[in-house]
């Protein structure tokens, strides 16, 4: 230790450095303050943007607290029909009631066992109560729970019923949307179940590993697109041959061969000499295989990216990603398969619906949504969801050209059952072969009406039914008829 005087001389030395010391402290103060500002920003941002996601986590006990205070809210269809509500039985026990039983099984889902559908997506709103304070106070007085907020969906009960009845006992999926807004009007997936009985049938469903009842086929089902994919192949062909595609022609003799591989037209049809438009309308496999062989693979790859193949979809439902393999190494055989929607290509019905809807909406994709608004028990809007655009999947010209092609499918092609009605429809059929047995195929239809100013967009898949034109188109007709009041 140094003694007094020595220290004094030293501190005189340091004295001249006094200002730098203050500057250093100042600098550190700033750094610390900035770090804290960053942390405050982070906390605020994280807490406010993740509130719903965290609330829905099954490890979060706050859900239970809220449910002990609030009665789970009611879910309504667009026309105010009740789709799900919580009632109290004679013993004072709460139960969730689904007035339409199986009809909305996948889209509305259930509120227990991990939750599904709107019950899951809107869980945050359903378990919160924004009831007016006066109502809460009077409920407090009698010891009742507060009413949870009410969720209004975009669903149309009548269309849902028509679609479900039309699909009948087949497995499959039907989705109906509004191309100009993205509103989901109908979402049917079969086989279905009664959400009111979910607790009873749960163990059985889980035990049966092969059961796909809980799978929402509209978003999670993956199918070979079959001829519906010709929309994409045609789009790419027009892109790559903007001047000359109308002059395309091909001599179809029912088969096209490349080495060992051979593509045939559906059910052995022979289309003879056909142009581009007719190849599409008649869904000529050999002609499209021929078109596929001419395509530049890397450009094609880019188009598929834009159309959201192998990509995340802008959806609030759980879904499966569509998959396709096209790159510079894809061989001729695979290119032929890809261009007619066979091979390893898989697509979900909602993805096909989104592509179709963007054709109907001049190339712009509106994000599909099912929750329209949330209201409190007094009918005050707590939150409303408005249509939002994902962006352009194709240009306006592309969309117009595809629309023309799809109109021809109805007027002179495979969807002729939709021709000559009070409304004009446009679409594309598909008969997607699957499995090893020749001739087994899923029936597809995707299209919209009215063709000149599309109001609804319908996508249908019926598993193992047969030809799209024979099985899917009639269902589309019933849905269009119901919508346009035929």
């Amino acid at each position: 230790m140094m003694s007094g005087p020595e220290a004094d001389t030293l501190s005189q030395k340091t004295k001249s450095k006094k200002r730098p010391v203050a500057k250093r402290i100042m600098g550190i103060t700033w750094v610390v303050t900035l770090v804290f500002m960053a942390m405050i920003g982070y906390i605020t941002y994280y807490a406010l943007t993740h509130e719903q996601e965290l609330m829905n986590n099954s490890y979060n006990g706050r859900q239970q607290i809220l449910l002990s205070q609030n009665r789970r809210g009611t879910i309504y269809a667009a026309n105010k029909e009740i789709l799900a509500q919580t009632l109290v039985d004679e013993n004072g026990e709460e139960y969730r009631d689904y007035p339409y039983a199986n009809l909305f099984s996948h889209v509305i889902g259930f509120s227990t066992n991990g939750k599904m559908g709107v019950e899951s997506q809107a869980n945050y709103y359903l378990i919160h109560s924004n009831a007016p304070l006066s109502q809460k106070a009077s409920l407090d007085a009698v010891g009742e729970k507060y009413p949870g907020d009410q969720v209004y969906t975009t669903l149309d009960v009548e269309l849902q019923q028509v679609a479900s009845t039309a699909l009948g006992v087949y497995k499959g999926a039907i989705i109906v949307t509004e191309p100009s807004t993205g509103r989901i009007l109908t979402m049917v997936s079969k086989p279905d179940f009664n959400p009111a009985e979910i607790d009873k049938i749960w163990d059985e469903l889980i035990a049966d590993k092969k059961s796909t009842i809980l799978l929402n086929r509209t978003t999670q089902g993956l199918y070979p697109p079959g001829s519906t994919f010709k929309m994409v192949s045609a789009l790419e062909f027009m892109h790559q041959n903007p001047e000359s595609y109308e002059n395309y022609s091909y001599q179809c003799n029912g088969t096209i061969k490349r080495g060992e591989d051979k593509i045939q037209c559906y059910h052995g049809s022979v289309h003879n000499l056909i142009g581009f438009e007719r190849s599409f309308a008649k869904s000529c496999n050999t002609s499209f295989a021929n078109i596929g062989l001419s395509l530049d693979k890397e450009q094609f790859h880019n188009t598929l990216d834009t159309l959201l193949f192998n990509k995340e979809l802008p959806l609030t439902f759980p879904y499966s990603k569509s998959s396709i393999q096209v790159n510079k190494d894809t061989n001729e055989s695979d290119m032929m398969q890809v261009s007619i929607g066979q091979g390893s290509t898989l697509i979900s019905p909602i993805h096909l619906n989104m592509i179709t809807a963007s054709v109907a909406n001049n190339g712009e994709l509106m994000k599909p949504y099912v929750i329209d608004r949330v209201e409190n028990s007094a009918g005050m809007v707590i939150k409303s969801f408005s249509p939002s655009s994902y962006g352009m999947l194709m240009t306006g010209e592309d969309a117009a050209a595809l629309k023309d092609l799809m109109t021809k499918v109805v007027t002179e092609g495979t969807a002729s059952r939709l021709d000559g009605l009070s409304y004009t429809a446009a679409g594309k059929t598909g008969s997607a072969e699957f499995g090893t047995v020749k001739g087994d195929s899923h029936a597809w239809f995707t299209g919209f009406a009215p063709a000149e100013n599309p109001e609804i967009c319908v996508t249908i898949i019926i598993e193992g039914a047969g030809a799209g034109g024979d099985y899917a188109v009639p269902i589309a007709k019933r849905i269009f008829d119901a919508y346009f009041g035929e």
């Binding site: 030293l10 005189q12 010391v21 965290l54």
Partner: protein, 485 residues
């Protein structure tokens, strides 16, 4: 009725704390304690109302009027503390007094809500701590010997930590505490103060390489013992304090680089050697994948922080019991849940304002020993706040240290009160320095005039800066006299 009160109070509390926070920064606009009087009075009113509001809600929610008596005791103690500091030390910095009392009142509120028993214990310790703390400024001021006790500080510090390492009780994998006569101490808390005193005493006279090296050996000893006790949070606080104090004392960036370089290396080594560090880091990177085990605490904490919204769920409306150790390590999360994000963020800002006040005092101190103490305590304090809040919201990995003043824990509470009391003592010394300087300046002016008259050709006129240029916040315009005080 009850509903209206709890709803109304949510907004009232948020508004009041926002006003308080505003005042705790507005205080820096004024340069003398006398001018700050208005700020302090307003702060006290807001503090009083927040405390009252919360306890009215607590009484309504629990249906137990007895809490009002508890409230009354708390209010008496807090009122006494603010008044006594003002009376005994008229020149002391009362922002620190107010902030300390506000944080204590928040601590009482949230602990009463979490566990009545713990709140009572905390109250008793806080009362004792406040009484003891009243003597601290006096002692700091009067005992000039403090500068020369560096070996005592380090001996006591290292000794206390070593005793815990060897004899201490293991709580959840870390050796933290030691019991004497039924009272459990957590010595690492008190050693924080000794440590700062040690470094300040080592470096205030000179800070050449030898001095730094000398202090580094003993600083390292502290840190190593703590690492061996597996108390990594406290170890990193000591480390950070040391590196920054050395940097401020020497002004050499090389020490900063060496320190943080070595620190990173040590962190990497700790990560590869200690299993529990790896677990913590994993829980930081992706707590959701280990939500059942290592990520449980942090995810529950995140649920709480995001679950309250801006105004909180209201006291007793959340689920703080779902977070393990909520009253110590995660108290911030439960405050955010029940009292709201606005309240929680205002608390952080109040911590920052206390820190800035520490730095402000430090910047203006003429005596380097005191200057380093003010700086070191400020850093120790704010870094601990950073570790616990940052850890609880997944901004940084979790280390498990307490939130100063607010978390449950006697040693932690006592240490924080003492730290602030030392800060308050230093503010008094600084005021004195300033008064002295004023006086000197006056004298000098007189003398200069006399000299000018006598020998006007003799140059080197000392600075004659006026008090008005004495800018407190920026620290600029500092008088550069060569005279020693």
């Amino acid at each position: 009725m009850e509903l209206y009160i709890s709803e109304f109070s949510k907004y009232a509390i948020a508004l009041l704390i926002a006003l308080y926070t505003f005042e705790s920064f507005a205080v820096f606009r004024f340069h003398t304690e006398r001018r700050r009087e208005g700020v302090y009075v307003r702060q006290y009113i807001y503090m009083f109302l927040i405390h009252l509001c919360c306890f009215v809600v607590i009484c309504f929610e629990t249906g137990n009027i007895i809490y009002l008596f508890f409230y009354a005791f708390q209010q008496i103690i807090l009122f006494a503390a603010t008044t006594l500091y003002k009376m005994i030390y008229p020149t002391c910095n009362r922002l620190l007094v107010n902030n300390m009392c506000l944080m204590l009142s928040v601590s009482f509120i949230i602990l009463t809500r979490l566990s009545e028993d713990k709140a009572k214990k905390q109250f008793v310790i806080a009362t004792l701590a406040l009484i003891i703390s009243l003597f601290v400024p006096f002692l700091i001021h009067k005992i000039r010997l403090l500068k020369h006790l560096k070996w005592l500080y380090t001996l006591l510090g290292v000794g206390a930590l070593a005793v815990v390492l060897i004899l201490g009780q293991t709580t959840y994998g870390s050796k933290l505490s030691y019991s004497i006569a039924g009272i459990t101490f957590q010595p690492s808390e008190f050693v924080k103060i000794l440590f700062v005193l040690f470094i300040a005493a080592s470096l205030y006279k000179s800070s050449n390489f030898f001095d730094v090296f000398n202090s580094a050996v003993f600083a390292a000893l502290h840190v190593i013992i703590l690492v061996c006790s597996k108390d990594l949070g406290t170890a990193s606080i000591f480390f950070m304090t040391y590196v920054l104090m050395v940097f401020v004392a020497t002004g050499k960036y090389i020490y900063l680089f060496l320190g943080f370089g070595g620190g990173s290396l040590a962190a990497y080594l700790a990560y590869s050697v200690f299993r529990h560090v790896q677990v913590r880091v994993q829980a930081f990177i992706d707590p959701w994948s280990v939500i059942d085990s290592a990520g449980y605490q942090i995810t529950q904490s995140l649920f709480a922080i995001s679950g309250g919204g801006l105004f909180g769920l209201g006291l007793y409306k959340g689920t703080p019991e779902s977070i393990p150790f909520v009253e110590a390590d995660f108290i911030f999360s439960s405050i955010a849940e029940e009292m709201g994000l606005i309240f929680a963020i205002c608390l952080i800002l109040i911590c920052i304002s206390s820190f800035i006040m520490f730095m402000n005092i430090s910047m203006k101190m003429k005596d380097k020993f005191y200057q380093l103490i003010a700086f070191g305590l400020g850093i120790t304090y704010i870094f601990q706040v950073f570790l616990t809040i940052g850890g609880g919201c997944k901004f940084i990995p979790l280390t498990g240290v307490t939130l100063p003043f607010i978390s449950y824990g006697g040693s932690s509470m006592l240490t924080c009160v003492l730290m602030f009391a030392i800060g308050i003592g230093l503010s008094i010394i600084r005021e004195e320095e300033r008064e002295l300087q004023k006086l000197k300046k006056k004298k000098r002016k007189k003398r200069n005039k006399a000299e000018e008259v006598a020998l006007s050709e003799e140059g080197d006129l000392p600075d004659a800066e006026g008090e008005s240029e004495y800018d407190e916040w920026t620290g600029s315009g500092y008088p550069q006299s060569k005279d020693e005080i």
